[in-house]
Amino acid sequence: MHRSDFPLLAASPGLHYLDSAATTQKPAVVLDAMREFYETSNANPHRGAYELSGRATDRYQAARERVARFFGLGDPDCLIFTRGTTEALNLVAQAWGRRELEPRDEVVITAMDHHANFVPWQQIAIATGARLRICELTPDGRLDMDHMRELIGPRTRVVAFPHVSNALGTVNPVADIVALARDAGALTVCDGAQAAPHMPVHFDTLGVDLYAFSGHKICGPMGIGGLLGRRTVLESLPPWQHGGDMIQVVQDEFSSWNVLPHKFEAGTPNVADAVGLAAAVEYVDGIGLDTILAHERHLLALATDRLAAMDGLTIYGPPAAERSGVLSFTMADVHPHDLATILDADGVCIRAGHHCAQPLMRRLHVPATARASFYLYNDESDVDALMRGLQRAAALFAVAGSASD
C-alpha cells in the first residue's frame, strides 16, 4: 500500500525494501516540503530583523508544533530537535549524568539496548564512577522484569531502556518500568527510535521523563530527530553544547542560558529537515498509526508463519503478535551476511549483522542475525520475495553440501 507515494520505490518496481528499522524510504511530500522551504523561506531563523528570516523562524516553530502534536506533547517547547536518537541520548547522558552521577550511584540499562543507549550510559558510568547495571532478558527475548525489580533500588539514579528493541521487535512494558523507577526516585529515559514509527506514542501520558526519537525512521529526512521531555526535567538540565542561539547574555566572565527549547539547540538549527519531519508525521498521521500497526502485524504474522515452516530456521524474540515490525532470524549453515547478499541478488533488502546490539547478540549466542523489517509501504509480495530468496539460499548451500559430503 502507498508504494506510489515514495519516489524511490515507485522507480524500482523489483525492489523489496525490508530494512525500514534501519531507515524508512521518504514520500514525495517530505522531499517537496524540504525543497519548498529552501525555495521560498530559506534564511537563518531567530536572527535577522527582516521578513524572510521571520518566515524561516515561523516555519521552524510550526514544524516543532506539528511534531510535538504527533507525539502527544502538549508543550512544544519541550521538544528539543537533535540529529536523531543517538544525539538525544548522548545529550541526556552527558548533561544530566555528568552533573548528577557519583560513585555508588547506579545506572540501569538493558541487555537489548541499541549501542546508542548502551554506550553513552556505559561511558558516563565509567567517567563518574557510577555502577552500570544491565537488566537481562528472558529466553524468548523480553526484558526479565523480575531482574528489573531486583536491579532498581535506592541507589538507582536513572533507568534508560528501549521502548521497542531494534533487533528483536520486543515491545517493552513502559508503564511497569516507569512505576518501578518512580518508586526509586530515578529518572526515566526511553529510546523510542523503533516505537515512534510504528505505534501511537502519547508522551504526556506515557510517564517517562525523557523520550528520544529519530525522524528518518518515520519517513522523515536523515539528520533530524528529537528529545521530548517533561518541562521541569528539561529546565533542570544544564546545557550540553554551547554557542549561538542557546545563550541569553554573554559576559566576559560568564553566560546565561536561553529558555527551552533553545537552551539545547546551539548553533543554526536544521530547519529544512525539521520542515521535512513535520511533513513526514503529517503523512504518517494521514494514514494513521493504528492502520500502520495493523498492516505491519499482518505482514509480520504472515512472514513469521512462513519462515517458521522452513527447515533450519530460528526466529528470535517473542511471538509475532507481541513484536513490532521486526523479524530477526538465522538459517542453519548459512551466515546472515551470505543470506543478505543472496537476497540482494533478487532485490530483497534485509539487514545482516549485530544490529548495533552486540551485548544482545552475545546473549543470543550468535555473532549476527538476519533482520527483515516492515513498514507501511510493504505488502505480501515482499514476503513472497523474502521466502523465494531464503529458499534459493537454502538450495545453494545445500547443493554445495551434498556435493562435498
Partner: protein, 160 residues
C-alpha cells in the same frame, strides 16, 4: 552480477569443510582479525622455521566468503616463505579489489618470475589456481572485506 560468480562451488566446499581450522599448539605468531561492521572474526596462528611458514591454522566465525577465504589462504601459504606469502597477499588483494594494494608491494614487482626482495629472498610464487574462485568478489564490493580479512590478519602476523 551473478550469485554463481560469488558462491563458486569450491568456495562453498571450503565453507562447509574448512581446511586448517582449529587451534595450533605451540604457535609462534597469533593475530586476530575483526570486521566491526558485520562482527566477523578470525584468528590466524603460524609456526615459523626461519622465514618459512611451516604450519598455519585459523579459528573464527564469519560468512561463507570469509571462512572459505581463511581456509584457502592457509592452504596456499603453508610451506611458503614470508616473501612468497606477501606476494600472494598482493596478488589476492588485486584479484578481489581489481587494484594492487597501495604501498604494500614487495619491491614493486611481486609475481614476476625470478624477482627477489632486498634481502635476496625469492618473492616468486605462482598463485594457486583455486584462489581464482575469488575473482567474483570484485563484483560485490560489499563483500571484499569478507574475502580479505584472513589475508590481512596473515599479513599482520608476518610483517607486524
Amino acid at each position: 552480477m551473478s550469485l554463481d560468480d560469488l558462491y563458486q562451488s569450491i568456495i562453498l566446499d571450503h565453507n562447509r569443510r574448512p581446511r586448517n581450522q582449529g587451534p595450533l599448539e605451540g604457535a609462534d605468531r597469533e593475530v586476530h582479525g575483526h570486521n566491526p561492521l558485520c562482527g566477523d572474526q578470525v584468528t590466524i596462528r603460524l609456526k615459523m622455521d626461519g622465514t618459512t611458514i611451516t604450519d598455519v591454522r585459523f579459528e573464527g566465525s564469519g560468512c561463507a566468503i570469509s571462512r572459505a577465504s581463511a581456509s584457502m589462504m592457509t592452504s596456499a601459504v603453508k610451506g611458503r616463505t614470508t616473501a612468497q606469502a606477501l606476494t600472494l597477499f598482493d596478488n589476492f588483494h588485486e584479484l578481489v579489489t581489481g587494484a594492487p594494494p597501495a604501498g604494500t608491494k614487495l619491491d614493486g614487482n611481486a609475481g614476476t618470475p625470478g624477482m627477489s626482495n632486498a634481502s635476496g629472498e625469492s618473492t616468486d610464487v605462482k598463485m594457486p589456481r583455486e584462489l581464482a574462485a575469488f575473482a567474483g568478489v570484485a563484483r560485490f564490493p560489499l563483500r571484499v572485506k569478507c574475502a580479505s580479512m584472513a589475508w590481512h590478519a596473515l599479513r599482520e602476523a608476518l610483517v607486524g
